[in-house]
């Protein structure tokens, strides 16, 4: 033990003992662990949105799910009943709560006008009307009804679509119907990549 260590030791004893003696210590709370944070929180079952292992999740949100509470998810952990993950989650899944609550979530429909350097918030109605207008103009001009052999082909190549592989099947089916009924051929998913 060198002098420095000895000094540290004395200082330690002195300061803390002194503070105790002067009554500066926090009150009488005994050593209770932190309150278990999920008591009575609403629990919802889901599946991880990242990879295709499809791990079961338990999502916890505050509020009773009553009509006056706005649920917000504050914790996500693995579903121990799920036969594949049996409660476990990888680091991505374990951090899902920060994905759901990312500060980089989009909140409102926005448009960036040609040549502009900024976003402008618009209503859903405006978004739907403007997009539909652009699509119709392009489709009416460029839809190919027959090929050079005279076969009906009804394809629209000047608009395309890169579709999501994280949305549920039901959204996927709506996407498919949307695309094919308009004549879109150039649709693809990230499945290739």
């Amino acid at each position: 033990m060198d002098r420095r260590q000895f000094f540290k030791l004395c200082a330690c004893g002195a300061t803390t003992s002194a503070i105790s003696a002067l009554g500066l210590m926090p009150g009488t709370a005994m050593a209770a662990p932190r309150e278990y944070k999920l008591l009575r929180a609403k629990e919802t079952r889901n599946n991880c949105c990242y990879c295709s292992v499809g791990c079961g999740l338990l999502m916890y949100s505050n509020g009773s799910n009553g009509k006056n509470a706005e649920q917000a998810i504050f914790h996500i952990e693995g579903d121990a009943d799920h036969p594949v993950n049996r409660g476990a989650l990888c680091p991505k899944g374990a951090g899902l709560v920060d994905y759901v609550n990312s500060p980089n979530r989009n909140h409102f429909p926005e448009v960036r006008e040609p040549g502009s350097n900024e976003w402008k918030r618009i209503s859903w109605n405006e978004a739907f009307s403007r997009i539909a207008r652009l699509m119709k103009d392009d489709r009416d001009e460029n839809l190919i009804e027959k090929n050079s052999d005279g076969t009906t082909v009804n394809r629209w190549l000047s608009t395309g679509m890169m579709t999501s592989s994280a949305q549920p099947n039901e959204g996927g089916f709506i996407t498919h119907k949307f695309a094919r009924s308009l004549g879109l051929v150039a649709i693809d998913t990230i499945a290739r990549n």
Partner: protein, 795 residues
């Protein structure tokens, strides 16, 4: 996956090759450790990098990226040579004895029928010899020189240990160990499973990588058995569902085909896709194609699909070319595309050749981005220093950014790679005004319908006819669509029990035949939560719904011999006893028929057997063959110097000039995922950003020393297509390999860089990658391309 995640625990040997399960599918990898702990399984990892899967492997072998086919064909040769073949299985359930046409040839790297100019094959000769009834001829004595077995033996004979090692760089000693371990599963009471993902698909010969493995599994008799199979671990949470939903340029839901220009009318179309049996008495399940298709048309067009209008067949668009995204971005780049929707994909980071994609997006009239996150794609028009060096005033694209919900804020079904359709529930409202994708597209669709009604226009009929009869057409409910996908008997209005009830007369409606049974009159089968596994083999029939027909292990008929006796009494899936079929899983065959009456196990094939010889299925040949990556570090193919790389690769005009040579770019670069991140999504997740805040490039110590690069230094990595700055991670986990007499160094680049998230700003690896892709799938080459690396000064 032919099998499913839990089934990995039944394996005796687990081979991770073309994937990195410990990092990309960590929880799935938990079943590998389960097999090692409780089934005494051995783990084999073959990868260019000693990764986190390799860290737990019993046997790790390095190989040069892009040489998997040579590795696996050498393994086939070894198995045949050492007689480590499951002969009973091969004889009963493969096309080994089938006779191939006598004009089929393979010479100096090319199969018969190649056309140099179009880079395509006339596949006429890649077929069986047929008898007068149209059935394939077979030779059960295996003496015919052109029976598949002899052709295969001859084809793989060139891949001896030395040749393989010379191509792959895998030391012979390591290679022998891998071969011996995998070969040990040729016996009836052992099985090996192969786990792969993007490490095999991200190549110019990705489909053939997987084919090569399938050859190995057929030789060993490992398909259709517990603990075996061909197991694509897949990528996104619902990429299986997205492909089931046919969200590809040439597909319809349920792996039906979008018609092309040759399918001039409905009858022709059905004729082209309804195969005839190639052997007597086979199930040939695709013979039901018309039932699946007509029922789907009823779900597309509802009452507007009638026999009189061919069930709306003409309203479907027909393709003349494969308009995958590479092709379409190329068209965009050439000014031929006006509008583009990007839904839940960060296209500018994910698609190959970032600089070209950026230039292409700048030429659009409008771009609609639907995403929960503020992706780089949505701000492609905004300058972000060197990461996105553009001038917004030059870019005339109108960009809409529409906020979508994510998984926690919506209900519905996603399908995991084990084909489990799992239902999930909404836990909270989305932020702000976000909407589910289905609502957004419905909003646009309803607006289009009104516009066409008001103004008329070109081909308004399908827009009017498309079945959108949801309770509220603006907000289709997940349950409504799920029931539509399952299918309904239009006469009784009842949900169907299974696809066996589908009709081709318009009396049934079914969005996706393979999903039939997922929402029956009994309710939502996907929401079931009985996790009991009474057999102890990991079959949980009461958990969710596994398509097709709640079957957990595909081709499970192959787990028994022809008489219905399980090959391995400790590995029973189905079994014929006391005049009946019994089993722990739904049989992948007609369980009402006796073994004598029932057909061969591969019921989706018109001949009912597994194919060593793939007929006309693939673009570059009925057998796999080693071709170098388009950018090869050795500049030749040691097997056939005149055919260096995949001859059937699609080369869009101008792309050849963007490929680099090994003289200018001497090092192989490979890209991959890290455990801590999921593509570019988690750069927006703080916890993930903390656990891995910045990307880097991994390189071996010898290369680092040669280049004067120290661990942590800034380096510049460049390909013919672009360059990026990143930091170096100098590691023992990469080693130079001796290939064709030279040392080849590999550098590794994670695929997680972005500049709009919570991680440190960085370039994404697609600045370097090429859009040249697999000849069949067009999956881009992300795993083997050439770069140079130098120390960056003054960063």
């Amino acid at each position: 996956m032919t099998n499913h995640w839990i089934d990995i625990k039944n394996a005796n040997v687990v081979v991770i090759m073309g994937g990195n399960a410990a990092e990309a599918h960590p929880v799935g990898f938990g079943w590998v450790t389960e097999a090692m702990e409780h089934n005494n399984a051995k783990l084999v990892v073959v990868d260019p990098r000693f990764n986190r899967s390799a860290a737990l492997a019993d046997c790790y072998a390095p190989l040069r990226s892009g040489t998997d086919i040579a590795f696996l064909l050498g393994l086939c040769r070894y198995l045949i040579e050492t007689k480590q073949v499951n002969y009973d299985y091969v004889k009963a359930y493969t096309n080994a004895s089938y006779i191939v046409r006598d004009d089929f040839e393979f010479n100096e790297g090319l199969f018969s029928g190649f056309d140099d100019k179009s880079r395509t094959y006339d596949k006429e000769t890649w077929y069986y010899e047929l008898d007068e009834d149209g059935y394939a001829k077979v030779d059960d004595t295996y003496e015919h020189p052109r029976c598949v077995w002899n052709l295969l033996k001859n084809h793989v004979d060139r891949y001896d240990f030395k040749t393989v090692s010379d191509i792959t760089g895998t030391p012979v000693e390591d290679y022998e160990k891998v071969c011996a371990l995998i070969g040990s599963t040729h016996v009836h009471n052992k099985a090996a499973t192969f786990l792969y993902a993007l490490g095999w698909t991200h190549h110019t010969k990705g489909a053939q990588n997987i084919r090569s493995m399938a050859l190995v599994q057929l030789l060993l008799g490992n398909i259709g058995v517990l603990g075996g199979g061909v197991n694509a671990l897949r990528g996104h949470s619902n990429v299986q569902g997205a492909t089931d939903m046919g969200l590809l340029c040439q597909n319809l839901p349920g792996y039906l085909k979008l018609p092309n220009d040759n399918d001039t009318d409905l009858a022709t179309y059905l004729g082209n896709y309804t195969p005839k049996a190639l052997r007597p008495g086979q199930t040939n399940y695709w013979s039901n194609y018309p039932k699946f298709f007509i029922s789907q048309m009823k779900s597309f067009w509802g009452e507007n699909a009638t026999a009189a209008n061919n069930f709306g067949y003409d309203w479907l668009p027909k393709w003349d070319l494969q308009y995958d995204y590479t092709k379409h971005i190329d068209m965009m780049y050439h000014g031929q595309v006006n509008g583009y929707f990007v839904q839940g994909v960060n296209a500018i980071n994910s698609m190959p050749n970032r600089n070209k994609t950026l230039a292409a997006l700048c030429k659009l009239k409008y771009l609609v981005v639907m995403d929960p996150l503020a992706t780089e794609t949505s701000v492609f028009w905004k300058k972000a220093g060197e990461y996105n060096n553009v001038d917004p005033s030059d870019i005339q694209t109108q960009v809409f950014r529409l906020p979508t919900t994510l998984f926690a804020e919506e209900e519905g079904c996603i399908v995991n790679s084990g084909r489990w359709m799992q239902w999930h529930w909404k836990g909270a409202n989305p932020p702000g005004e976000s909407k589910p994708d289905a609502e957004i597209l419905s909003g646009i669709m309803m607006q289009l319908r009104e516009l066409y009604k008001a103004e008329g226009g070109v081909l308004p009929e399908p827009i009017d006819a498309v079945k959108w009869d949801y309770h509220n057409p603006h907000t289709p409910h997940g349950e409504e669509v799920a029931k539509e996908l399952n299918g309904i008997d239009l006469k009784t209005g009842k949900q169907l029990d299974s696809f066996s009830q589908l009709k081709d007369d318009g009396s049934t409606s079914c969005g996706c035949w393979i999903y039939s049974g997922s929402w029956t009159e009994q309710g939502n089968m996907m929401a079931r939560r009985d996790n009991s596994d009474t057999s102890g083999k990991g079959i949980t029939p009461g958990w969710a719904f596994s398509w097709p027909a709640n079957r957990r292990v595909l081709y499970n008929r192959a787990s028994c011999d022809v008489n219905g006796k399980p090959w391995d009494p400790s590995r029973v899936i189905v079994e014929w006893t006391n005049g009946k079929w019994h089993g722990i899983d739904v049989g992948d065959f007609n369980m009402k028929l006796s073994p004598k009456e029932s057909a061969h196990p591969f019921i989706m094939q018109p001949e009912g057997v597994g194919r060593f010889f793939a007929l006309k299925m693939l673009a570059e040949g009925p057998f796999p063959e080693h071709y170098e990556p388009m950018e090869t570090p050795i500049g030749t193919n040691p097997l056939h110097p005149n055919v260096i790389s995949n001859p059937a690769v699609r080369m869009l005009p101008g792309v050849a000039e963007t490929l680099g040579s090994h003289k200018e770019f001497p090092y192989v670069c490979t890209t991959y995922s890290l455990t801590e991140h999921f593509n570019f999504w988690t750069i927006h997740c703080r916890l993930a950003a903390i656990s891995m805040p910045e990307t880097f490039v991994e390189l071996d110590e010898i290369l680092a020393a040669e280049k004067g690069i120290n661990n942590g230094d800034w380096v510049k990595v460049s390909s013919k297509r672009g360059s990026l700055l990143t930091k170096a991670l100098v590691t023992k986990r990469l080693q130079p390999l001796k290939v064709n007499g030279q040392m080849v160094h590999t550098v590794g680049l994670p695929r997680h860089g972005g500049y709009n998230g919570l991680t440190r700003r960085s370039s994404s690896c697609n600045v370097l990658t090429t859009e040249v892709g697999d000849a069949n799938t067009q999956a881009p080459e992300y795993k083997a391309f050439l770069v140079d690396i130098t120390k960056a000064e003054g960063v």
